[in-house]
Amino acid sequence: MEYTEIMVRYGELSTKGHNKKNFIDRLGANVRKALHRFEQVKVHAQRDRLHVELNGANYDQVMNRLKDVFGIQNFSPSIRVDKTFAATAAAAVKMVQEQVDHPITFKINTRRSDHKFPIDTFEMNDRLGGYLLQKFPDLLKVDVHHPDLTIRVEIRLNGIFLSSETIQGAGGLPVGTAGKGMMMLSGGIDSPVAAYLGMKRGVSMEMVHFFSPPYTSPQALAKAKQLTAKLARYSGSIRFIQVPFAEIQETVKEKVPEGYLMTVQRRMMLRLAAALTMKRHGLAIFNGESLGQVASQTMESMLVINDVTNLPVLRPVLSFDKTEIIALAKQIDTYDLSILPYEDCCTVFTPPSPKTKPNLERTRKYEQRLDIDGLIKRALDGIKITEIHNGEDFLNQNEDVFAELL
C-alpha cells in the first residue's frame, strides 16, 4: 500500500485545557525535529490530530522515528483519495487485497468532519461495507463489535483518508513541555532509565556527568556520552555537561573520615548539580536513585545529602526494583552500554563500609574542614558542554576506518 500520510493521535495532552496549544506546538516541533532528515515530509499539528504528509518519504522509516516521540498516543498510516465513493471503494478493495489472506471479520468506521460531503457517516459505513462484502464474499464477514480488521474512513475538507492499522506511540508528554531538568548521569543502569522516564513526562534534560581522570578512564566518559546519544533519540539532541571531580574527591578523601567519604562526595555532587541548574535555568535535579539499593540510597542518606539544596531532587526510579529497572533499560536499549565495565566516579573512592545512616550534624562538621566554595568554583570553571545528537558514536571512534577492513 502506498501510504500518503501518517495520522497521529495525541495522548494525554488533549485534556490539558488552556495549555493545549503549547503542547500541540511543542509536539509539532518535536515531530519536525525527529523527521528532519526526511526533507519532503510536511507536518501539520492541528487541534485534534497531527498529520504527517509523506510526499513520497518511506513510511516505515518515518513511523519508526515517530515511535520515539513522546506525547503521541498512536498513529495510523493512511492513504488519501479523491472525494468520491468510487475512489474510496477502490482504495478499500486494495487494502483488503493486500492485508487479508484468510477469512476474517471487519467493520467500516467513518468520521466526517466535512459536513458538506453528500454521503454521511452512516451511509458511508453501509455502502462501503456492502461493496466490500460483495467483492470478497469468501473472505469478509461483518462484525461491528469485535472485528479483526477496522477500516477507518475520514472525510475531511482536503480529501478522504483511509487507514486500517493503528500503531502504539510512546505515550507521555512532549519533551520540553515540563521545563528543563539536570540529570545526574553516572553511566550505570539506573540513571539512563531515570532520564528516559523524566523525558517521557515532558522534561527537557541536560546531562551532568562527573569525571575524575586519572581515577576514571576515558572510556567511562565515552560511555556516558554514548548513553546520552542513545537517549537523544527521544529529543533529537541533549546537552552533555562534564564536570571535573578529581580535586574534590582527593580533598574529601584526605580530610573526611572514611565512613563519611561517600556522603560528603554526594553532597558535593549535588551542590554542583544545583549550581548548574540555577545557572542554566533548570527547574529540578534528576537522578537514578532507587530506595535502599545502595548505601547512599537509604532515606537517612537522602536526608543528609539533600540538605545542600532547596531545589527539587526528582528520582523517577525511586520505587522500582532492580529487575524492573533492568527490563526498562533493555527496552530503551541502554542496558548493554551500561554494563560495559569501566570505572566511573561512583565506583572509585568508594569506602569499604560507607555509613548507611549518616548523621547530619556530624556531616556538616566534617565539611567545615573543606574549602567548599573554592572547590565548587574550580569544578564549575572546568566544565565542558557538548551537544550530543541521536546516533553519534563515542565508544568506537574508528568505525569508518574499520569499515574499510570489513
Binding site: 578512564s217 576515558p218 572510556q219 565508544l395 568506537n396 574508528n398 569499515a403 577492513l405 570489513l406
Partner: protein
C-alpha cells in the same frame, strides 16, 4: 589447474588476506586490555561481530568466535553434555555426520551417554518421523548437519525444527559448515535452531577461524575455559586478525551468493548430465532440489576412488575421494555406508565440490578429460 575440492578447503581471498595483514600489523592490541590500544582492537572485533550478525539477521551477542568447524561441533556437543547432563544423557544425531560430530558423540558414549544415530534413505536423508520416534524424556540434544559434506544432501532441518517445537528443552544443533553461501540461510537460521557451526576456511577466510551461532537464552558450558573471553563461552586471546578477516570473507560471500549458487548449480548440472550417460557411472548425489548446488558425488564402478582422483590430478584437475578428512584412511565413506551403497561402489566414489571461483568452461574441460579417462578405465573395468 581446475580446483574442484572446495568442500575440503578454499584459497584465502586476496582482500581477506589484506585485512588479516593490516589488522596484524596495525591493530594488534589485546582486545581485553584496558588501555586504548586494546580498546581499539576490542571495538574492531565487536564491529566485525556486528557485521556478521547483521548479514545473518541475528544478534551480535549470538555470534561466538571459534577456531573452526571441529571446535564448534565439539563445543556444542560437549558443552551441551556438560550443561545438561543432570537433565538427561541422551543425544540424537544422524549416521551421516562429519567426524567432528560423530567422534565427540562417541567420546560421550564412553562417559555413559546414550547416542541414537538416525538411519538415512538412499539419498542420504533422515526421516523427520524418526527424530520424533527417537525422542525420550532424557534427550538433551539433537544434532543434524545442514548439508552432507560427502554427497551434498540437504537435511530436513525445518521439519525437525517443527517437531522440536514441542520439546523446547532439547538443544538443536546444526552443523552448517557446508551450508554457508549456498542460499540456505533460511534453513540454518530457522526459528527452532539453537546452535549452528561454521568454519572460515570453507569460504576464503584463513584457517583457524570460525564461529558458532548461539541463540540467546540457550546455555552451553565452555569447552575452552580460561580468561573469560567471548563472554566466558570461549576463552583464549581473541584472534582479532582472523575474526575480522572472516567477517570480511562472509560479506564477500553474501554479496556474491545469488550469482555463485546459480553458477555452481549450472556447473554441477552440466557435469552431471554428461557423465551420468556412461554405463559404469553411478550418480550418488542428486541433480536438483534436495541437494546442495556445489557437491557432486559419483562412482565409476570397478575403479577405486584413489585411482580416479590421481588420474584427474595428472590432468591438473583436483577432486577428492568422498571426504578429505577420511580419504587417507582407506575407510569407505561413512555416508555411503549409511546409505547402504554396496562396497564395490562406495570404494569407487569420488566427490567434486564447487566454489564461487569455478566456471562453466571448467565444467566443459572436466567433461572432456572425463571422456579420455573413461576410455582408459574401460580397459580395466571390462
Amino acid at each position: 589447474m581446475i580446483y574442484f575440492d572446495n568442500s575440503a578447503t578454499t584459497k584465502v581471498a586476496p582482500e581477506v588476506l589484506q585485512t588479516y595483514d593490516t589488522v596484524s600489523q596495525k591493530i594488534w592490541g589485546n582486545p581485553s586490555s584496558l588501555h586504548s590500544w586494546g580498546e581499539n582492537a576490542w571495538n574492531l572485533l565487536e564491529q566485525a561481530r556486528q557485521q556478521i550478525a547483521d548479514l545473518f539477521h541475528v544478534k551480535p551477542s549470538e555470534i561466538i568466535f571459534t577456531s573452526g568447524g571441529s571446535e564448534g561441533d565439539n563445543w556444542v556437543i560437549k558443552g551441551t553434555a556438560m550443561a545438561k547432563h543432570r537433565f538427561g544423557k541422551h543425544i540424537i544425531t544422524t549416521s551421516v555426520e562429519h567426524a567432528a560430530v560423530r567422534n565427540p558423540t562417541q567420546q560421550l558414549k564412553d562417559l555413559g551417554f546414550d547416542i541414537t544415530y538416525l538411519p538415512v534413505d538412499k539419498e542420504g536423508r533422515i526421516n523427520p518421523a524418526d527424530v520424533k520416534a527417537a525422542i525420550r524424556p532424557d534427550t538433551i540434544l539433537v544434532s543434524i548437519m545442514a548439508v552432507n559434506n560427502e554427497i551434498g544432501t540437504i537435511q530436513p532441518i525445518k521439519e525437525v525444527g517443527e517437531i522440536l517445537k514441542d520439546y523446547p528443552n532439547i538443544h538443536y544443533h546444526v552443523d552448517a559448515v557446508q551450508a554457508i553461501g549456498k542460499g540456505l540461510d533460511d534453513l540454518v537460521f530457522s526459528d527452532r535452531v539453537d546452535f549452528a557451526t561454521f568454519s572460515g576456511h570453507k569460504f576464503h577466510a584463513p584457517r583457524g577461524t570460525g564461529f558458532v551461532f548461539v541463540r540467546s537464552g540457550r546455555k552451553l558450558a565452555p569447552l575452552v575455559a580460561g580468561g573469560g573471553q567471548e563472554r566466558t563461552l570461549r576463552s583464549g586471546t581473541e584472534n582479532t586478525p582472523g575474526d575480522v578477516a572472516m567477517a570480511r570473507a562472509i560479506r564477500l560471500v553474501k554479496e556474491n551468493e545469488a550469482a555463485a549458487v546459480k553458477r555452481e548449480q549450472a556447473i554441477k548440472e552440466r557435469i552431471y548430465d554428461h557423465i551420468s550417460k556412461f554405463d559404469h557411472v553411478h550418480m550418488i548425489s542428486g541433480r536438483d532440489k534436495g541437494f546442495a548446488p556445489h557437491i557432486l558425488c559419483f562412482a565409476i564402478e570397478g575403479v577405486r576412488g584413489e585411482t580416479i582422483v590421481h588420474a584427474f590430478e595428472d590432468q591438473n584437475i583436483f577432486i577428492s575421494t568422498t571426504s578429505a578428512c577420511s580419504s587417507k584412511k582407506h575407510s569407505e565413506a561413512g555416508t555411503l555406508a549409511a546409505m547402504k551403497v554396496p562396497d564395490n561402489i562406495a570404494t569407487s566414489a569420488v566427490r567434486i565440490s564447487l566454489g564461487d571461483q569455478n566456471t562453466l568452461e571448467e565444467a566443459d574441460q572436466f567433461n572432456k578429460v572425463f571422456d579420455q579417462l573413461y576410455a582408459g578405465f574401460k580397459k580395466i573395468i571390462e
